[in-house]
């Protein structure tokens, strides 16, 4: 295991930020760390990187206790914690040279240009960082994270503050790091759809506690989820639904669409039924908001002890 947390807790004064969290990140995964703001994601990441000390519990990196083998572990880890901050009065190249010297990167100047090229910043390498846009800073943040050829990189909300195009580019960059450079990635986010697109496994955190952990497919596909159906003549559909097997599944009726609570495998059957009844189905779309997913999970957890 690249990362292993055993019953890790962190108190800030009397506030419990992380509550007996246990998790494992195996080699080769893109591991999603999902939770709303304030759920303890950043605190956990900072503890993994030894920026803050856990109140209790154990953190193992590459099988070794971080507090005893900090240097060993940090040589193999790259990270971008929260927003990317640099020495703004220096150029991107100089920032990376400073950080590279600290990590004792061999052939530093060549490597700096190489990572700037990977993140698409080589043409702006000689510009001072204060002239960079947020997206460029995020890219530079990823560049410094991969500078010393790490085996594991930890990215804390790397798409925060970016426009949709910027978010897409960062996601593609992260995927290429895993496929082209074989780097294991721990990525935190509060966006469920982002995790769905990137992660292979994920853990969901809420109020410092782990709610669920597993592969993204198993977590998203096997549970009942909210599905939005855009259809013509919705009032007529509702009448028919009330006398059908789907009656208990209809949860809300916004203006031009219906919302059902379904398992993923039931979606094609509903589609067939609607068409057989003579309705035109324009779209069927799972609603993947983190909030609704949380509600489902917490609801599920309350009713099902497993």
């Amino acid at each position: 295991m690249f990362i292993e947390l055993r019953n890790v807790s962190k108190y800030y004064g009397s506030l419990l930020a992380v509550n007996r969290l246990s998790m494992t990140v195996p080699e080769g995964d893109i591991y999603g760390f999902l939770g709303p703001n304030g759920s303890g994601k950043s605190t956990t990441i900072r503890m993994i990187l030894s920026l803050i000390r856990p109140t209790s519990g154990e953190i193992l990196l590459f099988g070794k206790e971080i507090s005893r083998q900090r240097h060993f572990a940090l040589r193999r880890i790259g990270a971008l914690v929260e927003k990317p901050d640099f020495y703004n009065y220096l150029t991107a190249r100089k920032n990376l040279q400073i950080l590279g010297r600290l990590s004792e990167v061999p052939q530093l100047n060549h490597r700096v240009d190489e990572v700037l090229d990977i993140v698409g910043l080589l043409p702006r390498a000689a510009s001072r960082v204060h002239t960079y846009s947020q997206g460029m800073k995020q890219r530079l943040g990823i560049a410094q994270a991969i500078l010393h050829h790490p085996d594991l990189i930890i990215l804390d909300e790397p798409t925060n503050g970016l426009d949709p195009q910027g978010q897409k580019e960062i996601r593609e960059l992260i995927l290429s790091l895993q496929t082209d450079h074989h780097i294991t990635i721990l990525i935190s986010s509060h966006l469920l759809f982002e995790m769905e697109q990137i992660a292979t496994r994920m853990i969901i955190l809420h109020k410092g506690k782990s709610l669920v952990e597993g592969t993204v497919t198993s977590l998203l596909n096997n549970r009942e989820q909210q599905v939005s159906v855009e259809i013509d003549r919705p009032k007529e559909v509702i009448q028919k639904i009330h006398h059908s097997e789907w009656a208990g599944r209809l949860i809300t009726v916004p203006e031009h669409e219906l919302c059902f609570k379904l398992a993923r495998k039931e979606i094609p059957r509903l589609n067939h039924w609607l068409i057989r009844q003579g309705f035109n189905v324009f779209a069927i779309e799972p609603v993947r908001s983190l909030e609704s997913f949380f509600l489902q999970i917490t609801d599920h957890d309350q009713t099902d002890p497993d």
């Binding site: 900072r46 990187l49 030894s50 920026l51 803050i52 000390r53 900090r70 240097h71 060993f72 940090l74 040589r75 880890i77 790259g78 990270a79 914690v81 929260e82 927003k83 901050d85 640099f86 020495y87 703004n88 009065y89 220096l90 400073i98 950080l99 010297r101 600290l102 990590s103 004792e104 943040g141 410094q144």
Partner: protein, 278 residues
């Protein structure tokens, strides 16, 4: 460690604020020197008003040494501000700009980082005091020429010009030591804060505050005063007594060194345990 110190020095000397300190010393020294050049005679006649009937003044009284002495007296108020301007930013500046998050995830221990930063900050302080010395004496010789130094305190001491170089060297060396105490204080405050304004203002407020309290309440604080580092900031003046009081000077040096060790150790312990939340 050398690698870390070089990186920290690079960061210090690429920051614009560093040159504020150097520029301020440059401007202040030149301003004082030109002021004395223009109004020196008036100033001198006021200074010796009470003793001019008992002494005969001959030769170049307003010379480089007198001006350097005046500069020393004047600038020991400003130099701590200029020291704190940079050294108060060493740790707090990283916290404020969020760069601890890219720095402390490297395979470098916090203790190594604190030592490297302190040494780099001390080198800045050293350069600042040496610049002060160089400007005072260098431009002083061009503007005023050499001569004997007359120091008027509660008595009048006259030092021959060939007896002065070692006294000034001693005064500047002591100045470096006392400014190292200021460096250690502002560095410690810098570890406590997450922005650099606090340590800079805090350092100056502490120095001025303690000085005022210990002066106003001298009787009350008498026994405590001898252990306060602020009481020994002007001890460079010991070099301008006919016989330098080695015991008094040794005590002053011991107090300064003790405070440097205390502040630095406190910084190491605190920073090593600090949660990086910025």
């Amino acid at each position: 460690m050398i690698r870390l110190i070089r990186i920290e020095l690079y960061k210090i000397f690429t920051k614009p604020r560093t040159y504020i300190g150097f520029s301020a010393v440059f401007i202040l020294v030149l301003a004082i020197q030109f002021g004395i050049k223009l109004e020196g005679d008036t100033m001198m006649s006021m200074l010796v008003q009470n003793i001019k009937d008992r002494f005969i003044f001959q030769g170049n009284i307003i010379n480089l040494y007198l001006v350097a002495y005046v500069v020393l007296n004047t600038l020991w108020i400003h130099v701590p501000i200029l020291v704190a301007l940079v050294t108060g930013d060493l740790l707090a500046g990283e916290a404020n700009s969020g760069t601890f998050r890219i720095l402390l995830i490297r395979p470098v221990s916090r203790i190594q980082l604190v030592i490297a930063k302190f040494i780099a900050g001390w080198i800045y302080t050293l350069i600042l005091v040496l610049l002060l010395a160089l400007l005072s004496l260098g431009t002083g010789i061009l503007l005023f020429g050499s001569g004997d130094l007359m120091v008027v305190t509660n008595k009048v001491n006259v030092f021959a010009s060939n007896d002065l170089l070692w006294r000034f060297s001693g005064a500047y060396a002591y100045g470096i030591l006392s400014m190292t105490t200021v460096t250690a204080l502002s560095f410690f405050l810098s570890a406590l804060a997450d922005n650099s304004i606090g340590p800079i203002v805090g350092t100056i407020a502490l120095i001025i505050g303690i000085t005022i309290i210990s002066t106003v309440g001298a009787t009350l604080l008498g026994p405590v005063n001898q252990y306060l580092f602020t009481s020994y900031l002007p001890s460079w003046q010991l070099f301008f007594q006919t016989n330098v009081g080695h015991g008094e000077l040794g005590h002053a040096i011991l107090i300064q060194v003790t405070y440097i060790v205390l502040f630095f150790t406190a910084t190491l312990i605190y920073f090593n345990r600090k949660d990086i939340l910025s």
